[in-house]
Amino acid sequence: MSRGRAPRIAFAVGAAITSIIIAVALLATIWTPFDPAAISIVDKLQPPGKHHWFGTDQLGRDTLSLIMAGARNTVGVAFVSVIIGLGIGVPLGLVAAARRGVTDEIVMRGNDLIFAFPSLLLAILITAVLGPGAVNAIIAIGVFNIPVFARVVRASALTLWTRDYTLAAQVAGKSRARISAEHILPNLAGVLVIQGTIQFSLGVIAEAGLSYVGLGAQPPTPSWGRMLNEAQSLTALDPLLALFPGFAVVLLVLGLNMLGDGLRRRKGADR
């Protein structure tokens, strides 16, 4: 069933990293060691120590609290944008596969239009029009997720439509919409979970990128991208300041990719 233990270990590690970070993000909604917004100039730029585990920044804010609160923001933005992609992309893909013909062409060419813009450029465009902020970052990233899910769903659904059980359902008089809901969608669940994990990790990178250029969450909402931006000018003074948020992004993306990879291998082993 499996080729060696390495993939299974990678899957377990990925699942552990991801769930720890999500747990931390959830925890940050109710508790952080310090108020991440509390400024205390006396305590500025302290190295990691007993009191402030990850040290403090140029305004004396506790870095660990900022990272935790930043996780809340990043995970939230990435998660909601995946939900947007799923919520709109999946029905579009299902309809395109079920109706084929003109509907299919319209849906898929619309997707191509969105795909034609590089994702970050599109996000900058949207936030430039709507104004910067976490909600607009969600919309920007979410819009880019729509064609990804639509394509994946359409491609997989087209294969499923060639199976005889869809024919048997048609003989029973079921409509194409009903067959899509009852037979096609449930059989796509595995594919969607895998693609969702991948889009989640891309969303994390996109959110960090947007807040880095100042188009994501606005101060005082903490975010990993803006922490990186602020740490940039202080690199010579305190390199650790950039290291923690950078490492947080890397860790979450790595965890998600290991998880997605592991899920894909598992699914492969099922067949």
């Binding site: 005889d164 059980y165 024919l167 048997a168 003989v171 029973a172 079921k174 037979h183 059989n187």
Partner: protein
């Protein structure tokens, strides 16, 4: 085996010898003390039901078993020990000295490569040949399998070829380097009778004409008996009997061989007792189904492809009517139209004397209650996520007032018992069943609405012979007990002869011959029917 088993004059040098081969995979014995010899100029048939170890034997000759498999015993090719040989040396032997042909020719070919290049690639992989020499060898190999190089076959892509032609390409690839051993694993199972005969002739030509050793693996004893010199019968990983093919009909054999023989020799259907009812349940009149063809000109619309051309047929109550023809003859299009999945261009369909129209929803759902279908693929016919009870009850959707949960459960249990499954199977999932059991579930699904007609689209073609015989028996019994009418679509004339009362022969969208099965099979009138009958493998009838 004694030497007299091989036909006189064909006994050549020993090419392959397998001694006491045992294979264990995940603590299950897959092969148990298998010993076979094959000589040059000889065709050995390896026959058995699915899971009997035929394909595993073929793979272990190539040393292509899964890495987790543990093997013991010896495989020798021309005296050279293959067991335990290192991978690079084995690669030099595979393709060069042993050629292999698989069941599904499409998956064996690279869809993006011209067939000439694919065959030539095999040459250049093993020999220091120039591109020109390799292309020349490829052309000769394709010539030998009847795909003439001059006719541009070299430049074609796999998708441009029919199933039979693709299988011939696969054989050309396997034989281009004149391997001393050719292994063909179910090479004709995916093909219709006409293409099957050509492939079997080719195998015969390679063995008897050119002195190669050939192993033909098949579940169908009729196919095996037509071309092989010797037969090895496998059951549960063991070889239960080895015999000369000419002895097959002469004496009694191991009980398992007898069972295979009985399953391959389907008895023709006896005339229905008491005569058939004359009430027509399904009447098709001058039905036409066309598909739009691709435009070739900007100004002119291309004439549509006529898949069904003014077809008329009738099925009476309690009668089994067969529709036969090769692939591409329009059988499936006709069936789709009868099942109201496609709209006909003209003509009419009457069900239980009532004309039904594609326009009215009410009339459609009434139609769907009276005609149900059993499809070919026992693996694709069921949503893998649904339990059997939900699958079998799916046709209830066609009813205006579907029964409640309790009644539904009882009805599902009833039909499951009718098809020989148990009530408890309702809670299980499709993957827990074998191919034959799945086909029983499909029949249960067709029975649940108590229809007047059940259509079968190649419903037993994917099953191996023993299971096929059981399913045919079940169908005959159900037809009699429930007074069902069947419309049985198939390309297998043996099956058709054993189950149907009347037969329609379809060719290029038209019915070319019709009549009582015994009369049509006994003295076919149309040349096409004669050709189909001649191509059908029969036990004890050489090619």
């Amino acid at each position: 085996m004694s030497a007299d088993a091989a036909p006189a004059g064909a006994a050549g040098a020993r090419i392959l010898s397998i001694e006491s081969l045992c294979v264990t995979l995940e603590s299950a014995r897959i092969l148990d003390q298998v010993s076979i010899n094959v000589s040059s100029g000889e065709i050995l048939g390896l026959v058995g039901a699915s899971g009997s170890g035929k394909s595993m034997t073929a793979l272990s000759i190539m040393q292509l078993l899964p890495a987790a498999a543990r093997t013991s015993g010896a495989v020798r090719l021309r005296g050279q020990m293959l067991s335990g040989m290192k991978e690079p040396e084995l690669r030099a032997i595979r393709g060069r000295h042993i050629g292999m042909v698989f069941q599904e020719p499409m998956t064996a070919l690279n869809p993006l490569m011209r067939i000439g290049d694919q065959v030539a690639e095999t040459v250049r992989l093993h020999l220091p040949a120039s591109a020109g020499q390799a292309a020349e060898a490829a052309r000769e190999a394709l010539d030998r399998v009847g795909l003439t190089g001059a006719a541009g076959a070299l430049d074609r892509y796999p998708y441009e070829l029919s199933g039979g032609q693709r299988q011939r390409v696969a054989i050309a690839m396997a034989t281009v380097l004149w391997p001393s051993l050719l292994i063909a694993d179910e090479p004709t199972t995916a093909l219709d009778a006409g293409a099957q005969v050509q492939i079997l002739r080719l195998l015969q030509e390679f063995a008897h004409g050119r002195g190669q050793a050939v192993i033909l693996v098949s579940h169908d004893l009729a196919v095996i008996s037509q071309v092989t010199d010797r037969i090895a019968v496998m059951e549960g990983g063991k070889i239960v009997e080895q015999l000369a093919t000419r002895d097959l009909m002469r004496r009694t054999h191991h009980p398992y061989t007898e069972a295979l023989l009985a399953a391959a020799r389907l008895a023709p259907k006896r005339a229905a007792q008491g005569g058939t009812d004359s009430t027509p349940v399904l009447e098709v009149r001058d039905l036409v189904r066309e598909y739009p063809a691709r435009r070739r000109s900007l100004w002119r619309r291309a004439p549509p492809l006529r898949a069904v051309d003014r077809v008329s047929l009738t099925v009476h109550a309690g009668e089994t009517v067969a529709l036969v023809g090769e692939s591409g003859s329009g059988k499936s299009s006709l069936l789709r139209t009868i099942l109201a999945l496609d709209r006909p261009q003209s003509g009419e369909i009457r069900l239980l004397g009532e004309r039904f129209s594609m326009a009215s929803r009410e009339s459609l759902s009434r139609l769907r209650r009276s005609i149900q279908v059993v499809l070919q693929d026992p693996y694709g016919s069921f949503d893998p996520l649904w339990p059997v009870e939900r699958l079998v009850a799916e046709p209830y959707h066609a009813l205006d007032a579907p029964p409640g949960a309790a009644e539904r459960r009882i009805n599902v249990a009833t039909v499951l018992e009718q098809v020989g499954l148990s009530t408890g199977d309702a809670r299980r999932y499709p993957h827990e069943f074998s191919g034959g059991q799945r086909q029983r579930i499909a029949i249960a699904r067709a029975l649940i609405l108590k229809p007047a007609v059940i259509a079968f689209d190649e419903a037993v073609s994917a099953l191996d012979v023993l299971v096929r015989a059981q399913i045919l028996e079940l169908l005959a019994e159900l037809a009699q007990r429930l007074r069902l009418a069947y419309l049985f679509v198939s390309h297998d004339l043996n099956v058709v002869e054993s189950i149907s009362d009347r037969v329609y022969v379809m060719r290029r969208g038209r019915i070319v011959e019709e009549g009582p099965t015994q009369a049509v099979f006994g003295s076919p009138q149309h040349a096409y029917t004669k050709k189909l009958l001649a191509a059908t493998p029969r036990i004890g009838r050489p090619l």
